[in-house]
Each structure stands twice: as C-alpha cells, then as structure tokens.
C-alpha cells in the first residue's frame, strides 16, 4: 500500500493525508489514486495544502475526501474518507442531496450561511458560526465531477451591540475571508479563473490570468476584455457568450487559441458558468480556462508520429531501412538505402534481407543475430561488404548502425539500419596512403634532400639523402631538427624566410650551408611548398634541397674574379666602353668619360671618335671597322692621340676591344677598355732616346766583344771537334771490337770443331797425342769464348736504346732452355719466382740472365747438386734509400739469383764486376772475366744497380735492382 501511495505527491499533509495514503483504495469506488482523473488529483492536492476546512465530494456518490482543518474544526463525527457521504452527514452540513445535485450537475454554487457548530474547547462549550460554500468540480473532460465544500468561520456574528458602521465590518470581514479562501484555492492552480459582471467587466482574475496578461490586480480588475488586451474578435466572442449564459443560465464551453505573454501562442479549453443570486437570477459569469496546448500537441504528435517517422526515413539523406521478423523482412527502405544496395523497392521490400542481398550474409549474419538476441545496438565502421550493384560485384565500405526495434515483448521485433557509404572516402584514403607510400619510395631514392613538416612546422620526415648527408638517424633529426647543422651565418636568415612563408602558407626558397657528416659545409638550395589537406586546410611543408656547393664555389670564384677584374681596371686606371651594334651607341664608364673629357656616358660612335686627333682618326676607324667586320676575330687594338676638349691637351690612348657576334655572324656588341698611356709613352720616348745613345756606346763595346767572342767560338769549335772525334773514335773502337771479334771467332770455332773431328777420326790415339788435342781444343774454346764475350760487351752501348715491355718470366724460360743440358749434367734445379714485366731491352735482359745463370753453373760446388733460386720483389723505401744512385720517384724491382755454389770472399764483392777480373785460376774454373762486367754494364744501362754477397763455400747471391719503367 505504501508503495502505491508513495508515488502520489498530491496525498500530502498530516492526519487526513496520512489516512488517505494508507487506505486500501482498491476496495473503494474511486479505485487506486494513481488512476484518478487529474482534476481530482489536483483538487485533493489543493485541499490537503489548505488551512481552511475543505472537503471534496467526488462523483455521484459524493465520495468524501477532506483536509485536517475540516477534521478538527468542522467534523462532528468521523468522516468516512473514501466512502460515500450518507444522509446524516449531509444533514450535519445543512444541505440535501437535491441541493448537492444542483451544484454537481448544474454547476450552481450553493452557500449555507451562519451555520452554528458547537464544540468543547478546554472544558468550555463554544459555539462557532460558519458559512459553508458548495461549488462544482469538473472532470478532465470538463464534465461534472464532484462538489467542493469550503467552510469559512464567522464567529464575530455573535458579537453584541451592533453599530451602523461596525455592522458593516463583519460583512466586509466575511467577504474578505471568503475572498482569501477563494484566492488560496484558485491561485494554486495553473488554470485561469475569472469572473465577469454582466457588463463584461472582470470582477475577478486569478494570479495565473494576471500573469498571462502581464498585468496586476489594480490595472486589470474592473476593466473589460479589450482593455485587458483581448483582440476584437475574441472580446466579441466572449461578450456574446456572457450574454448567452446570462440569458439562459446555461454554461458555455469552447476552445480558443491566443497568444500568451510568456509562452507564446497557446490553445485553451474554457467554460463559462452562471453565478446565481439568492433569487436564482444570474448576477455574474464565472469562467475557468485550461491550457491544453501540450495535450493538443501530444495528440497531434502521436497522430503524426507514424507518418512522420515514415517520411523521415524516406527522406533521410542517409540510408535507412527497417527490418522485422526472424528472417529480417524489409519493411521500409529509403531511396538512399536502395541506392546504396543497388536495388529498387519492388526488388527489396517485403522480402527477407538475405534473399535480396545474399552477398552480405557472411559478413553480417552473426552481427544481426547478436542484435536480435541481446537487444544491443551495433556500430560498424568502414565495414567492407561486397554489393551487387548494376549487375556487378563491387567492394564497398559502409559506416552503419543496427538498432533493435522493440515491440511489446522483451526481445526486439526487428531492427533498423542507418548506413552511410564511405567507399569514396576509404578509397580516397587508400589512394592517399598509396600515394604516400609512392612518395616515400620516390623520396628515399631521390638524391634531393626531401623533408616533410606538419602544420605546426615540426618535421615529420626526412629522406635517406638527408640522413646520409647529416650522418644522423631519423629519430635525431625529428627530435632536434637540423638547425644546429646550419652554418651560424645562414641560420637566422633562413629561419626567417621559412617563418615568413609559414605565416602566409606560401612557397619559399633559400640558400644555406649545412654541415655534413664529414664536418664540411655544403651549400644547399631549398624549395619549400605548402601541402594542403582535401578540405583545403594547411597540412605543412614539403621541402627539397639540392646540393649547389659546386655552383656556389664557381659563383664565388666568379665574384672573386669580377672583383679582381674591377680592381685591376681601377688599378690600371682603365676606362671601359661598350658599343651596342643595335643602338649604335657607345656607353662609357665614368672614368673613361673623364679621360676623354666627355660629359655624356652615352655617345654615338661618331661623337666617340670625334675626340680622336685628326691625324690618327682614319686609322682608328679602319681598325674598328676591321674588328667588327663579319668573319673577323673581333680583336680591336689601337693606339692613338686624342685632343681632350676640356684641357685641350693631347693625350695618348691605348684602346683594346673584343667584338661579339651572334649565331648568324652579325655584330652584336664590342666591349673594351681604354687607357691613358701618355705618361708611359713619354717615359718610353725618353727611354728610347736613352737607349739610342747607349746603343751607340754599346756598338763600340760590342765590336770588342765580337772579337773576343769569335776567339771563343773557334776554341769551342775545336772542342766540339775533339768531342766529335772522341765519339767517332769510340764508335770506331766499338765497331772494331765487333768486327774483329765477329770475324775472329769463325776460324777459332772451326779449329775447335776440327779438333773434335780429328779426335773422332783417329782410331788409335796415344795418351800424349790425346793430351795435345785436348789442349788445342781447350785453347780454341777459351779463345772463342773470349771473342764472343768481347763481342757482346762491345754491343751493349752500341745499340740504340729502345725499351719495350719485357716479360722476365719469358726471358728466364728461354735462358733455361739454353742451359738445360749443362744444368742436367750437374743434377741441378732452377726455381724461379713469378717475375715482373719491365721496360727493358730484351736481348740485354737475355744476356743478363744468361750470364748470371751461367755464372751459377760455372761456380757450382762439385760436391752437391746445383740449386739456383731466382726471386723478385718490389724494392721498399728503406732499401731504395740505401742506394743513392736510384731515383726516388721510380719503382724498382729487386731480382735475386741465389746459388749454392762455391761462393767468394765478401771482400771481393765489388771486384767481381770488373772486366777481365778473375777470382779463380783459369784451370780451376773456365771463364773470360767479362761476363759479370757485361752484367753490370747492362744493369747500369737500364738505370739499375747490381751487387753480390756470398759466404765462401756456401753459395753466392747476385742482386739486380732494376726500374719497373723507363721514363
């Protein structure tokens, strides 16, 4: 019970309210308070808050509902709250059922005056006087609902000694009390309550009405409808109605719409009822008006709701559709939705979703099942679906919401989908992402230094070229930028260029130096361009820098040159001039104009030449014509006199110029200089005179010298003759040596062979003959060897030196072949390293190798097999320094011939290279004593050195140091 009534704020107050709250209303005719008509609820709310005794008698059974004041002051017996008032009760209130019926059904108020009630207060019997007022209460629909009883005490009636003035007092007081009570009631209601007299003037208006009018009691009461702001039609309507009520005694009910001072246009339901006097005549018309705007609005809203919903769905710019039932039958789908799925209404409506759009089933079936079983909304973002549109499958991206639609049951009856296709945006984003990726690839491989910044100016990307240039990782550059790498002189200006551009989001370009990873400054030329988002908002800069260090250097060099030229011109007191072939004008530097004593810097060619002294003028003009003629080399060089028009003095001018021609060979311009050489010429002239004088003096001296000279010449001639003869003699000697040895060797050779033949031919030979033959042979051989070696030695310098690339490996192979028999005889081995290819005279190399190997064979130790080792290597710097004869700039090879022969005493290391020097007796070791001398001559002939080292008995090593190339 408490639960039911706790939600009923109108059941308030003390005793009465409390009793009503705990009453089991379900057993009464009124039923549960929650279901009461709102007019009853508000009437009960009013009486329970009022401090005057009041009672509501509701319905045709006059169900009793009263307040505390009524219970304590008026009720003689207990009031059956919630029960019908019986006859006894009505009797106690001095009224009858008939009278109540009049109030209830006809709305005629009824008043019982001066009703006496006796009560015992503090042991004394007190009689009180009351006025009981009965008035009609209406239902929500404006039909008779019940009767309101209001009791007003009039105790003062019993006061004796009436006085004419004071007699009025109680009446006035009673009236005031009545007004106050009435006011209390009607002020609490939002309904408009008012009373007209029969002249249409307001005699009463409650607070709500005054508020609506925006007026006060004083300004509104006693005024007519128009004076209180009613429009003419409205006033006239009410006046007709008042007349009608007055004439018929019947109430009038109507609905009207008019503006409210605060709430704007409102709809009102009103009832005008007659007020009868004691004679039953209508003396006034009372009205009650209720604001039904909200109610009207909700009715209208409710009616329109369904159609509005459909309209809304149909006309919504986003795709919307509604599906019902377990198979998701499409009930509503707007054009946007049909457009999205590529279907028309006939194809889609009243069909199960997955029948019309089978392609979406795999993606959304589970989702829909979830929405339908949990009743929870589902949001899909950039949901990828395949839709068959216009006969072909398309991949689409959709943002959508599935919201469950509830009916009476607990589970959704269907769902509503709101979808928004974002395929374009997603594709665009993909394209942007792709383009971004392409940009990165391009940027990464670009030699241009590319950087990207965001809208705040912070860098977001540097390409590989940047990272390589600065030698810093991306993280570093993104965090700290590269401003610290910029040359201090360029930092501020460049940052300013950038910030100025950033302000207006414009292009920028600038040059600056940046320190690279090798700590060198490189000149970069930067171009920056703003980037914009699709919506046109600024996205930041992209910048590309190119290395212009080389250009910059050239430019600086050029500037330096120009500066040097300018200062040279300045220094040389040169005037410069330019002849423009198109305008025919000569432009002079101010220095030149001063030199010529001409005021104007621009002159015609004739004016320019007019200063030239008459006797030189034709020649100068001719030179100029020649230089500017088609096909000329363009050089102009003239020296001439001018007569300075300012000083009237003659000056000597030296002019130089260069003519320039276009592609067709036509003259375009001549650029040149002019120098005042007057002073020089004067000096020169003086010098020339001096020279002339000296020349004469010199001539005399010269003659003397000439004589001495001739003497010297003849001595010289003699000298060169001697030298020539010496060479000739040398050549002859060499030639002789060659011829002699060549021709000499023939007979000796033959002697040797004949001895051998003879030896073979003689069948029986005694020991003595044999020994003699051997001696002949030995002598012949020795002589032959001697002759051959002299021959070879003589040829070394005789040959015109012609160097060629010689592969020493080939040389050693050839020489080995030559000696293979001898080597074999001594069970010898020759081990050869990889040898170099050098600039050399090939046959001399052959001879060198031949002599050294033959030497090793010749001096091999008889006790052990011969071993020759030939090694080669590049001579290192310190070895090079040891030998002062060598050229420090050349590369030398050191080729060593090491043998295990008898060796020699190191003390003889130098002597062995002397011609005809023998360390051993001829009988011990054959040899001419020429071989090593020839080796030395060959090596020296090639700009090298030869040396030998040895430990006697263990072997010798010959070192040949020879240059790799011959300059």
């Amino acid at each position: 019970m408490t639960e039911i009534t706790s939600d009923l704020p109108f059941l308030t107050g003390g005793e009465a309210g409390n009793r009503m709250r705990v009453l089991d209303w379900s057993t009464t005719n009124l039923g549960l308070p929650v279901a009461w008509p709102s007019s009853l609820k508000s009437a009960v709310g009013i009486i329970l808050r009022a401090d005057v005794p009041m009672m509501v008698l509701w319905g045709e059974h006059y169900i009793c509902l009263c307040n505390d004041a009524f219970l304590s002051n008026v009720a003689a017996t207990d009031i059956p709250l919630g029960q019908a008032a019986d006859a006894a009760l009505l009797e106690a209130w001095s009224t009858s059922r008939a009278q109540l019926r009049n109030v209830l059904t006809l709305g005629r108020p009824y008043t019982v005056r001066d009703k006496q009630l006796t009560s015992i207060v503090q042991g004394q019997t007190t009689t009180t006087h009351w006025t009981f007022s009965y008035s009609q209460l209406m239902t929500d629909d404006g039909l008779p609902g019940g009767v309101l009883l209001t009791c007003m005490q009039a105790t003062y009636v019993a006061t004796p000694a009436p006085d004419p003035t004071s007699a009025l007092q109680p009446a006035t007081s009673a009236s005031n009390v009545s007004l106050r009570v009435y006011e209390t009631v009607v002020s609490a209601t939002p309904d408009l309550v008012y009373v007209f007299d029969l002249n249409y003037r307001f005699t009463y208006a409650n607070r709500a009405l005054l508020t609506m009018w925006g007026k006060t009691w004083g300004t509104a009461i006693g005024k007519g409808l128009r004076e209180n702001g009613y429009e003419e039609w409205h006033a006239a309507m009410h006046e007709r109605e008042i007349d009608h009520v007055a004439a018929t005694g019947e109430s009038v009910r109507g609905e009207v719409s008019f503006p409210h001072a605060i709430l704007g246009r409102r709809v009102y339901d009103y009832i005008l009822v007659p007020v009868f006097n004691e004679k039953g005549e209508v003396e006034a018309v009372a009205g009650t008006t209720r604001d039904v705007s909200e109610m009207k609005q909700s009715e209208l809203s409710l009616r329109e709701s369904e159609s509005r919903f459909r309209t809304l769905v149909k006309t919504a710019p986003v795709a919307m559709a509604m599906f019902r039932g377990n198979s998701y039958v499409a009930e509503i789908a707007n054009d946007a939705y049909l457009n999205l799925i590529g279907k028309n209404e006939a194809e889609f409506l009243d069909r199960p979703l997955f029948e019309s759009l089978p392609s979406v089933r795999p993606r959304i079936e589970e989702i829909l099942k979830n929405v339908m079983t949990t009743g929870q909304l589902y949001n899909g973002n950039e949901f990828k679906v395949v839709l068959n549109r216009g006969g072909k499958d398309e991949v689409c991206y959709v943002n959508f919401t599935y919201s469950p639609l509830f009916g009476s049951g607990e589970l959704p009856e269907g769902f509503m989908v709101v979808a928004n296709e974002v395929t374009e945006q997603v594709n665009a984003r993909h394209r942007v992402e792709e383009s971004e990726a392409r940009f990165r690839t391009m940027a990464e491989s670009s030699p241009v230094f590319i950087a990207v910044g965001d809208e705040t100016g912070d860098a977001t990307y540097f390409n590989k070229a940047w990272l390589e240039l600065t030698g810093r990782p991306m993280e570093y550059l993104l965090k700290y930028g590269w401003a610290d790498l910029v040359h201090p002189d360029d930092r501020e200006p460049y940052i300013k260029i950038y910030l100025d551009a950033l302000k207006i989001k414009g292009l920028f370009t600038g040059e600056f130096r940046v320190r690279n990873n090798e700590n060198e400054y490189r000149w970069l030329l930067a171009h920056g361009a703003p980037r914009f988002n699709r919506d046109g908002s600024f996205a930041g800069y992209i910048s590309g820098c190119t290395d212009i260090t080389r250009q910059k250097e050239v430019q600086l060099e050029l500037e330096k040159k120009e500066l040097a030229l300018a200062s040279a011109i300045e220094l040389a007191e040169l005037g410069t001039w330019t002849y423009d072939a198109v305008t025919g004008e000569v432009t002079l530097s101010s220095k030149h104009a001063d030199m010529y004593g001409i005021r104007e810097l621009q002159n015609s060619l004739d004016d320019y030449f007019s200063v030239i002294a008459e006797q030189d003028c034709d020649e100068v003009k001719e030179k100029f014509r020649d230089a500017t003629a088609r096909g000329s080399d363009g050089r102009y060089n003239a020296e001439y006199r001018i007569v300075n028009p300012v000083t009237n003095k003659t000056q000597m001018i030296h002019a130089l110029g260069q003519a320039y021609f276009d592609d067709t060979g036509a003259l375009t311009r001549v650029e040149g200089t002019a120098q005042d050489v007057t002073a020089q010429r004067e000096v020169q002239l003086a010098l020339e005179n001096e020279v002339h004088a000296r020349t004469i003096e010199l001539a005399a001296t010269n003659e003397e010298l000439q004589a001495a000279n001739e003497e010297l010449l003849s001595i010289n001639e003699e000298l060169s003759e001697s030298s020539r003869r010496l060479i000739q003699s040398n050549e002859e000697l060499s030639q002789f040596a060659y011829v002699a040895s060549h021709d000499l060797q023939e007979p000796v050779r033959k002697i040797s062979v004949f001895v051998e033949m003879l030896y073979r031919n003689l069948p029986q030979l005694d020991e003595r003959s044999k020994s003699l033959l051997e001696k002949i042979d030995a002598s012949a051989n020795r002589m032959l060897n001697l002759i051959r070696d002299v021959l070879k030695h003589s040829q070394i310098l005789n040959n015109a030196t012609k160097y060629e690339r010689v592969d020493l490996n080939k040389v050693v192979r050839d020489v080995e072949k030559e000696f293979d028999m001898l080597i074999e005889q001594r069970s010898g081995t020759v081990v050869v390293d990889s040898l170099p290819v050098i600039d050399a005279i090939e046959f001399q190399m052959n001879q060198l190798f031949s002599n050294l190997i033959s030497n090793a064979i010749k001096f091999s130790a008889p006790t052990r097999p011969l071993q020759v080792k030939i090694t080669a290597g590049i001579l290192n710097e310190s070895e090079k320094l040891e030998n002062q004869e060598l050229n420090n700039r050349l590369t030398y090879y050191k080729i060593s011939f090491q043998d295990n022969g008898i060796g020699f005493d190191q003390a003889h290391a130098y002597q062995i290279f002397e011609i005809f020097r023998r360390l051993h007796a001829r009988s011990e070791y054959s040899g001419t004593g020429i071989g090593l001398a020839t080796c030395k001559k060959i090596v020296q002939n090639h700009g090298g050195e030869i040396s030998a080292s040895s430990v006697p008995g263990e072997g010798a090593t010959f070192h040949v140091i020879i240059p790799a190339t011959q300059s």
Binding site: H742, R749, V753, A780, Q847
Partner: protein, 133 residues
C-alpha cells in the same frame, strides 16, 4: 726419308753439318747449295721440294735474308720451314731472323757434339715434317 737442303757458302760448315747428317743417313737425305742464288735456282727451276731448309745468313751473291724473303714470297715454297744458321748468337740477329719468317735459329757450334744434339732435336721435331706423319 726427310729431305733437307743446306745452303751455306762455308765449305767447312757444310762438312760439319753433313758429317752429323751422315750419322742419321737412314732418316735424312741432304742436298747443299753454296749461295742464295744457286739455291733459289735449284728450288724454282727443278721440282726439288725439300722438307726443311738450313740457311746461312752471310753468303755472297745472295745472302740468307734475301733468299728467305724470296721463299716466303713464293706460293709453292712459302710453306717450307727455314732454319737460320749464323756464327753470331746475337739476340738481335735471332730476332730479325724470326721476323723474316724463320722457323728457328741455330748458332754455328764450336762443338760437333752440341751440333749433333741440336740437329737431332730438329729432325725429331714432328712439326717440321707434317707430311710424313
């Protein structure tokens, strides 16, 4: 038999060579000429086609170098290998001979045994006698 043609003006030298060839008479047959011209006539005016020619450089009338050039310029003779003989073992002489088209070079020896050794190597060299293979 391998047919050899020895062209040398020096009678002694011809004897030396012939005495060596005599030792391998079962394998070679040798004819001689004493100067370039007589050799040229023998080669061009008869059907004589030796397998190999030994040619001395220093000869009267027509020297070895001139004859070698003629042989190299003759269509029917140019394929015959020529080995140059000389007293001088000067590398330059050898080089010149090779450039003139000589197949090999033999220094005139002062030892018969050396000559035997050298000539034996030539006769045994199959590259000089392709037709006999």
């Amino acid at each position: 038999l391998k047919s050899l043609f020895l062209v040398d003006d020096d009678e002694d030298d011809r004897d030396f060579f012939l005495s060596v060839f005599e030792t391998m008479r079962d394998r070679v047959v040798c004819e001689t000429a004493d100067n370039g011209l007589s050799a040229w006539e023998r080669l061009t005016q008869t059907s004589y086609r030796p397998d190999l020619i030994f040619l001395d450089l220093n000869m009267p009338v027509m020297n070895g170098k001139q004859l070698l050039q003629k042989i190299r310029g003759h269509a029917n003779l140019q394929r015959i290998p020529v080995i140059i003989l000389s007293t001088s073992s000067n590398d330059k002489t050898i080089q010149d001979a090779r450039e003139a088209g000589a197949a090999d070079f033999i220094t005139k020896p002062n030892k018969l045994s050396v000559l035997e050794h050298r000539l034996k190597a030539v006769i045994d060299d199959p590259s000089y006698f392709p037709d006999l293979l």
